[in-house]
Each structure stands twice: as C-alpha cells, then as structure tokens.
Symmetry: C2
Subunit: 189 residues, 2 copies
C-alpha cells in the first residue's frame, strides 16, 4: 500500500513489491491473483485504515460548518503523517496513466467522485437542517471542498507540513460564511 501510495500504480514494479513484502513472485500471485487485484486490495485497505476521518467528520452530530472543518483538518493531518507518503492515495495512485491502465485511473476517479458526492450529501443535509447559508450551493461548494482536499494532497506531496496544511484548510473554511450562530469568532476557532 505504501509503495502504491508513494509511486502510483504503474510506477510500482512487482520487484519493489516483492522486496517490500518479502515474498516470491508465485506467492504474490497466489495471494493476490495479479497486480491489479493487489492494487485494489491496497485501495480498500487504505480506505479502511487511513481516511476514516472523512466518514467520521461527515457523520458526526455537529453543525455543517464544523463537519467541513473536521473534514479539512482531518485531511491536513492524514495527508502529512510522518512515516507515510504525502498526500492521498486516491490522487497519487494514478492521476495520469497509460492507456492499458485506464481502468485503474477510472477506479480512482470514481473514488474521488464518491468523496465529493459524500460531501455534497452532507451539505444537502445541512441545507435541510437550515445551517447551510443561503448563498452557497451544496454541489458547488462540495466541489470546492473536494478540490481543496485534492489540492492539499498535492501540497502535502510537495512537502507541506501539517501546520501549513492546517492554515490552508482554515483559509478554505473562510469561504463558508459563519451563518452567525451560537459560536462567534472566538479565540482561535
């Protein structure tokens, strides 16, 4: 998973995987069928172990603004974990691919689209609950948030620290009006 995360699907060779896992080629193929299946296994593992913050943030019983704040701050932390490759596997895995790896690229794109859809759904819920400001469109703002997270992924890959990513997240959050509810512009936010 770390190798795919770091180098992407195509640039990760079986030789690298073999050495990292300490397995012989037949063992790898017995266990994972082929490289593509292995990558998909890594994808689901990544989804389960590395980005739980997203589901947590979007399903927590908090205000919409707080949910988005947790989402962005969680991304800042998850994309810059020490000892882990920077950024998000869904972005780094195969942004550009050769024609024969198009299926993998499409699958990652589907993951990204699903993330955006989940954000949009949470915003729509906020709209229904009435704590999403009138001026913001759920789908449009979801695209913004998803875009910012993708951008954070690249910034992390370029070496941005967790603090810098938090500042970026906080800046993005300023695009969501406060609705003037119970929490004012207190201390740090």
């Amino acid at each position: 998973m770390h190798l795919f995360w770091e180098h992407g699907y195509e640039a990760t060779s079986l030789a690298m995987l073999r050495e990292a896992m300490g397995l012989t080629p037949p063992q790898i193929y017995n266990a994972f069928t082929d490289k593509e299946t292995l990558f998909r296994k890594a994808l689901t593992r990544y989804h389960e172990t590395e980005i739980g913050f997203a589901l947590e943030a979007l399903s927590a019983p908090v205000s919409t603004r707080e949910a988005i704040r947790r989402l962005l701050m969680g991304a800042a932390e998850a994309y810059s974990r020490p000892g882990k490759p920077g950024g998000c596997l869904f972005v780094s895995g195969a942004l550009a691919a050769s024609p024969q790896a198009q299926a993998i690229a499409d699958e990652l794109k589907a993951y990204r689209k699903a993330s955006e859809a989940a954000i949009a759904q949470r915003l729509a819920k906020g709209r229904a609950m009435g704590d999403l400001p009138e001026g913001v469109c759920a789908e449009g703002f979801a695209k913004f948030v998803a875009g910012v997270m993708n951008g954070m992924s690249i910034q992390a890959r370029d070496g941005a620290s967790v603090e810098e990513l938090r500042v970026l997240a906080q800046t993005a959050l300023a695009a969501l009006p406060d609705e003037g509810q119970n929490q004012g512009a207190s201390s740090k936010e």
Copy 2:
C-alpha cells in the same frame, strides 16, 4: 506535449510519441536527444503557450483581489479547454513516479513551487501597497491559492466543466476578504 499532458511522463511511450509526431525513432533522438529532454522541451512549450494567463494575471495593474480573481478564472478556463487534456501538465506530468524518474518529478515540483512563489510575491506586493487585508498572511494565502489551482487541475481531469471550475474559483475567492474598497458586492462577482 499533449501526450505527456494526458498520460504523464512515464506512461507516455516512445511508440506513442513516434506515431503522434510521424517521426522515426532516430529522427526523434536526433531532434531531442532523449525522452527526458523531449519532455523538458514540452514543459517549456507548455509554459509558454498554455498558461500565459498566470503571468498576465499576476503582473496586471489591478488590485490584489482582482489579480487573484483573474488567476483563478484563467486557471478555470485553461484547465478545461476543449480539445486539450484536462488539468495542468505540471500536476499531471508526474505526480507519482518510479525511482528512476525522480528527477522529472522533482522538476515538476519545482515548477509548482515557483508558481506558488510567484503568487506569494504578488500578495507581498499587495501587502506593501496596502490592499491585502490585515488578517491574511501572504505565504499562507499563496499556498491556499496554489492548492486550489492544483485541486482545480484534478477536478478538471475528472471532467469538471469550465462553469464548475469557475464556481470553484469564485468560492475560493470568497476566502479573501473584500477590504471594502471601491467595488461593492455588485451584480455577479
């Protein structure tokens, strides 16, 4: 350039380039030395022909906010041009790379860093001119703007239309307080 833009450095094979350019392998190597040099040529060509909007936006004699607006709107248009690969070559070219292509990945990273530095410089100028709101840090906000542009690049690659990217850009712009100058919250903007 289009092939590298679409598939990235490593996933673009000499066979694809050969067919696209209608040249034989020796012709390619006579003209461009090797694949790496050819890619660098494509990079500079891309820089010259596709993203002039950035330099224009940052050097135009307009307010800082307007400069950033033009930058983001220019990106929205440039990243979704019909007939061109979506997104930005500097992002798609080699986000993740195999160890032997690390030099290419580093070069693209340097381009991205340079873009961010150019934004930071423009914001610092705005600070000096006094039209950058007190609350925003030039470096931090530059990282935000660069990150949003990178995110737009990925959204574009995922099929976002120019209108959707414009909405994203406009949303990001909301993170920059208006400073309450001559232009009010009129009509559209």
